[in-house]
């Protein structure tokens, strides 16, 4: 009984003590933000102003040119872009990619709606273990990674073609991820798709009805490679492939004719897709892109 009374008093005392102490606690929330939240900051210079005026304010596009390991493959050796290349690269991107879409659609809405919201610029290419190199990558319609920019020179046409081909390729993925390409595209030459596309030369890929060897990678890549080729390399280059195929008088004549037909059909599907899905005149877009590239 005595013990019980002692235990009871002890428990009551403990409760009173804990109530008092909890009442007196004033939990203060941290006044400082989590370090680095909202991204890194640095004193802005004229290059940051250029990006802000030409991409961020009008299109809500971020152009990330300072190194951030979390934006790239962390298992690969990559290096940051040379600052001297940032404005020349982005200037060509705007002229060859954004401006023609705006001119053909007559407004800024299309690019604002579908453009990826982030460009990440990297100086070197990404070297794959199979001997190929990666020049660009699109992720979920939100981000475009541009690689190998330290070699960029807008006066060197092959480099402009290579980079803008990559951008149109990646943007093509965003378009078909929003509105799927027609089913008919899938049935043109399904036998030609392979994971080891890099073992095939561009010439041999042409003979199978693909604009490039990379188009043999998947149906989606075939679709966007054909878009990119038509827009960037241009109609003349596309027609030259078909003319070569049609002039084949060897044993492979039948296969070449079929390949030429497939390429023509792919172009027709793309023209129709741009019109029906987005109301864009693909031929006018192509002419405008070519006009810009030829006058850079």
């Amino acid at each position: 009984m005595k013990l019980h009374r002692f235990g009871g008093n002890f428990l009551i005392g403990l409760l009173v003590l804990s109530t008092c102490s909890s009442c007196s606690k004033k939990e203060e929330l941290p006044q400082k933000n989590i370090l680095g939240i909202g991204g890194d900051t640095w004193p802005k210079d004229s290059m940051d102003d250029y990006i802000s005026q030409n991409f961020t304010i009008p299109y809500n596009i971020q152009v990330k040119y300072k190194w951030d390991p979390y934006e790239v493959s962390f298992t690969k050796t990559l290096i940051p872009v040379d600052e001297k290349k940032v404005i020349p690269v982005m200037d060509v991107v705007k002229k060859v990619w954004i401006d023609p879409y705006e001119k053909v659609t007559g407004n800024t809405g299309f690019i604002k709606k579908f453009a990826p919201k982030q460009f990440v610029l990297v100086g070197s290419a990404e070297y794959n273990t199979d001997g190929t190199i990666k020049l660009g990558q699109a992720e979920g319609g939100r981000k475009i990674l541009l690689l190998k920019l330290n070699d960029f020179d807008k006066k060197k046409r092959p480099e402009v073609i290579e980079m803008m081909h990559t951008i149109q390729h990646e943007f093509g993925h965003i378009l078909h991820q929003n509105i799927l390409y027609p089913e008919a595209f899938k049935s043109l030459n399904p036998e030609g798709y392979t994971g080891t596309w890099y073992n095939v030369s561009n010439e041999d890929a042409n003979k199978q009805g693909f604009v490039t060897n990379y188009a043999k990678s998947t149906i989606q890549d075939d679709f966007v490679e054909t878009i990119a080729y038509l827009l960037i390399e241009g109609q003349d280059a596309f027609d030259a492939i078909i003319t070569d195929l049609e002039s084949d008088i060897t044993d492979t004549k039948l296969a070449s004719m079929k390949a030429a037909g497939n390429l023509r059909q792919k172009q027709a599907i793309i023209i129709s897709y741009y019109k029906s899905a987005y109301g864009i005149d693909f031929n006018a877009l192509q002419a405008e892109v070519q006009n810009v590239i030829n006058n850079l």
Binding site: L35, G36, W42, W67, D68, P80, Y127, N150
Partner: protein
Amino acid sequence: MRKMITYSLLICWISGCKKEVISLEQPDARLENTLNTYQAQLTSAEYGWFGYLFTPSGATSTFLFQFDKQGRVITLANINENTAQAKSTGSYRLKATQLPSLYFDSYSYLHLLADPDPDVLDGTVGAGFESDLEFSILSASSNQIYLKGNLNGSKMILVRAQKDERVVFEADPLLLKSRWEDPKTFKYYYNRLTLGTKQYDIVINTRANTINFFSNNGGFKQFSTSCVHTPTGILLAEPFIDGDLRVEEFRDVKINKSQGSVSLLSGAIRGNIQNVATPLVTDPNAPDQMYHAKSYYVSATGFTSNGTSDIFQVTTIPSFYGVIYWPSYGHSPYSSLRVHYLLGSVSYGQLFSTQIRGDKIVFSDPKSYIGESQGPVFEQSTKGLTNQFLTPGGYYVFQTGAGSYDLVSVVDAKTWIRFQ
């Protein structure tokens, strides 16, 4: 037993009394303070910081960094003539990652060694020289900061520059390396280092970025490590330890060109190097190792002889690529030595036999010349080179890097060729 318990209790009581100070500051505030402290330290160096970089590939470099408060960093480096002449400007930032890290976040000279494009510095495709551009800060004192690369684990030591050191470096960053290989100063191949009572032959290979110690200590002994060239001397990647002697760095290096001698400090020991005509020791295994280790060896300079580098002027051949020795050419019983040009695709040289004779390698039994020459003048250069290569006395062989070997004429210590 009772005493033991008493003492144990006493120790517990004393140690229990020690108060541990626990910071009640928010972790983010502490992180921010830490980064600000590092930033202040980096920008406080009036004459900048020397950066000594050691990569896992063996490539090393010395940088001079000047960090400013706007996140910009000006760089000069002793990688090549471009990086040694004009300063590059890039940006940096301090980042709270697993460890506080220093990012060199836009392209500068530091990135050349990390560039995966082999056309940039002839590094490995896709890996460059396994260097880094993000570095964790491992420790820092007021004059030194130790960094470790986050991707490849390169080691970089930042050392606060003094005014006179900066002046020396800026005057000619490449001279700090090339002065060790000036054939006019070091006419003989052999350089005898004396530290206290101990003697070594040392070889500094600025192409392989190594320093090598050869000694006769109960037989041939060799120690090799990567090194960087500092304004006052040489810093070793790994210390050379021989009994009670420990060499981490050569400081206060003074080269006497006319006498072919060097005075230096290693720790507290004042040492010297004398250019001498005979080796302290020769490597009995190197000839055989060289013959079997690689399929071919490239020399960028040809023969050095009597104080003149490239005595046969093969490097002046248009589109010169390198002098290449194939121990077993095309899996044949013959070896070849050829001058390659046009990116190595065209060559001209001679077939012969290679013989291993103990610590010597001897090239003999010359056969016909093969390949295409670049005209009569260049044919003459190549023939001078191959004739010297086939000198009857042969060569001592010294390994100066993972795949690097020097061949030194047995009969004339003033004549040697370096395959880096």
